[in-house]
């Protein structure tokens, strides 16, 4: 029985951040030099990446005869060179949204099961297996997707087309293997499942016991405890976990490149084969591109870089805001 109350705890001494002066000892100097050097090196690397991307992107964009944002074509070797990211942006965003819609509810369900339902003997190995999913190389996912998932999804595609074709999204207007944005979305969902699950699980395990007991003492069932205490506490954690997953889905390269049959079409019929994503397009075209083509691909990489930066920034904002409403007594 805990008898310590908050009244018994002496206030923590204010954190002093004064940096002790170097006393001239050699170890201190070497360590200071190393850590300062690493910090500066990181900034230099970041700056040179940004400069490199921007400069090469500028070179490419000044040669481009089409509108970079709205053109549905990628032909930097043509005369005149015309290329745009409309298809890539569309494909990247749509496939990531599909992945999120599928993965987040499943991940939250698994995380809740591990943290609140599964007996301890089962929870630890299960958590381990989920984390193991993250260790599979993405090219392996890609090969599995192309050889196993694509043929297996044909039946599902037919079924979706037949019963949900009226939603427009699931209407399949072109015949062909299921090398579609929808399949890519499913594959990405599997790939981001581990990160979303493990971050959510951590948050759910942090729910203060007294918040859960508050619900239990009112006569809440296990699901009601989750609804009253766990999910409100974990909501922002789920959001930031999803953002981390989204960041990975946006940048995934090999798995997408292996599964998708690329085409420069924008279609909301997500079952139709074709489409493209930034990373997939770069991987597919970089090897055979001429100098201008490479710069054009780098320009598209810059857009992906900014997109991922925005997503991660949003995730960080949400995590920071979490502190405010983490609870009265937490």
């Amino acid at each position: 029985m805990a008898s310590t109350t908050p009244l018994d705890i002496p206030p923590a001494p204010p954190e002093t951040r004064s940096r002790p002066r170097s006393t001239g000892r050699a170890g201190d100097k070497v360590f200071l030099g190393l850590s300062r050097g690493s910090g500066i090196l990181l900034l230099v690397i970041m700056a040179s990446i940004a400069v490199f991307l921007s400069y090469r992107a500028y070179l490419a964009l000044s040669e481009n005869e089409g509108n970079f944002l709205t053109t549905f074509d990628w032909n930097p070797a043509g005369d005149p060179p015309v290329f745009g990211i409309a298809v890539l942006l569309f494909g990247t965003v749509i496939s990531s949204i599909i992945a999120m819609v599928i993965a987040v509810p499943i991940a939250v369900g698994i995380a809740l099961f591990i943290s609140h339902y599964a007996p301890r003997k089962l929870a630890a190995p299960l958590a381990y297996v989920i984390d193991l999913l993250a260790a599979v190389p993405s090219i392996v996912y890609g090969i599995w997707g192309a050889l196993v998932l694509v043929p297996y999804l044909e039946g599902l595609n037919l079924w979706l087309d037949q019963f949900f074709g009226w939603t427009y999204f699931f209407e399949k207007t072109e015949i062909g293997a299921a090398r579609s944005l929808f399949t890519v979305g499913i594959l990405l969902a599997i790939m981001i499942l581990p990160i979303v699950t493990s971050v959510s699980r951590e948050v759910f395990l942090q729910v203060p016991k007294m918040n859960e007991e508050a619900a239990l003492a009112l006569g809440a069932t296990r699901w009601e405890v989750i609804r009253l205490s766990v999910l409100p506490f974990g909501r922002s954690g789920i959001i930031s976990a999803s953002m981390l997953g989204l960041g990975r889905a946006l940048g995934e390269t090999m798995a997408v490149a292996t599964v998708l049959s690329p085409s420069f079409l924008v279609s909301l019929h997500v079952l139709n084969p074709g489409g493209g994503t930034f990373a997939q397009n770069i991987a597919a075209k970089f090897g055979e591109a001429n100098p201008l083509g490479r710069d054009a691909l780098i320009a598209s990489g810059l857009v992906l870089f900014i997109l991922t930066l925005l997503v991660n920034g949003a995730a960080r904002l949400i995590i920071a805001r979490r502190k405010e409403y983490s609870g009265a007594n937490a």
Binding site: T5, P6, L7, A214, G219, A328
Partner: protein, 258 residues
């Protein structure tokens, strides 16, 4: 409706460790019964067996009988969720639902139990907040989060939440130990009012508090470190504090303990 609690031969365990042993007592309806005793003697554990919260702790296990007006809470087929809906609990530290408004906090238990009309719900919320002596302080900000209140107000909010569902019994586990003296006084006054309607059991480390608020007092102790806690005696509070029948009780109360 206040109910009598009859406890017979109760043992509680954490895994293989026996925390309390062979406790039998009767808790009278419409009265306040205080549990006192040194830290680790099992009084909170015992309290938590009375609404089947003990078994929520991993490894928690209970043997024995707890009769609530002749109905055994540990009988076969009794759902612990139902038990907790009739035996309310207030904890050591105020624990309102942090993301919920004051109104929703009080209404939370009602919404679990069934569907109410909107005006019905706000009537009960008002009545409960008045019952917890909190209404005047929060009536203008019912939609503000409950976590914005002071510690003492939060604890009264938790009491309002507990009494909103009209339990038979109200268990309080050191409800004032995290509060300042003025808030403590407010809660003690409230306990005096609530005992008209509920059976109240309170665990406290503060012997003056036990003397002030309770009608009967039970003293718990353990014979040695690592041994299970036992009930030493239970009697009218007045008698326990003036003329206890067991020497250990007198030693503890007069500070000659240990």
């Amino acid at each position: 409706m206040a109910k009598r609690i009859d406890i017979g031969g109760l043992n509680a365990y954490y895994g293989s460790h026996k925390a309390i042993e062979d406790i039998s007592m009767t808790v009278e309806p419409r009265s306040v019964t205080a549990f006192i005793g040194p830290s680790g003697c099992g009084k909170s554990t015992f309290l938590r067996t009375l609404n089947r919260m003990h078994e929520v702790t991993p490894g928690g296990r209970v043997e024995g009988k707890v009769l609530l007006d002749d109905e055994d809470l540990y009988g076969p087929g009794v759902d612990p969720v139902t038990v907790r809906r009739t035996v309310g609990m207030v904890f050591q530290r105020p624990n309102p639902f942090p993301t919920m408004s004051i109104f929703d906090n009080v209404a939370a238990g009602l919404r679990l139990n069934g569907s109410y009309r909107k005006n019905e719900l706000s009537d009960i919320v008002e009545k409960s907040l008045k019952g917890a002596n909190l209404w005047n302080e929060v009536k203008d900000r019912l939609n503000k989060p409950g976590s914005g209140l002071s510690g003492g107000q939060q604890q009264r909010l938790c009491i309002a939440r507990a009494i909103a569902v009209e339990p038979d019994v109200l268990l309080m586990d050191e409800p004032c130990s995290a509060l300042d003296p003025i808030s403590t006084l407010a809660i003690e006054d409230l306990i005096g009012e609530l005992k008209e309607r509920f059976t109240i059991v309170i665990v406290t480390h503060n012997m003056q508090q036990a003397a002030r608020v309770s009608d009967r007092t039970a003293f718990f102790n353990l014979s040695a470190v690592g041994k299970p806690g036992r009930l030493i005696e239970i009697d009218d509070t007045e008698r326990i504090f003036s003329n206890p029948s067991v020497q250990a009780t007198e030693d503890y109360i007069s500070g000659r303990f240990g």
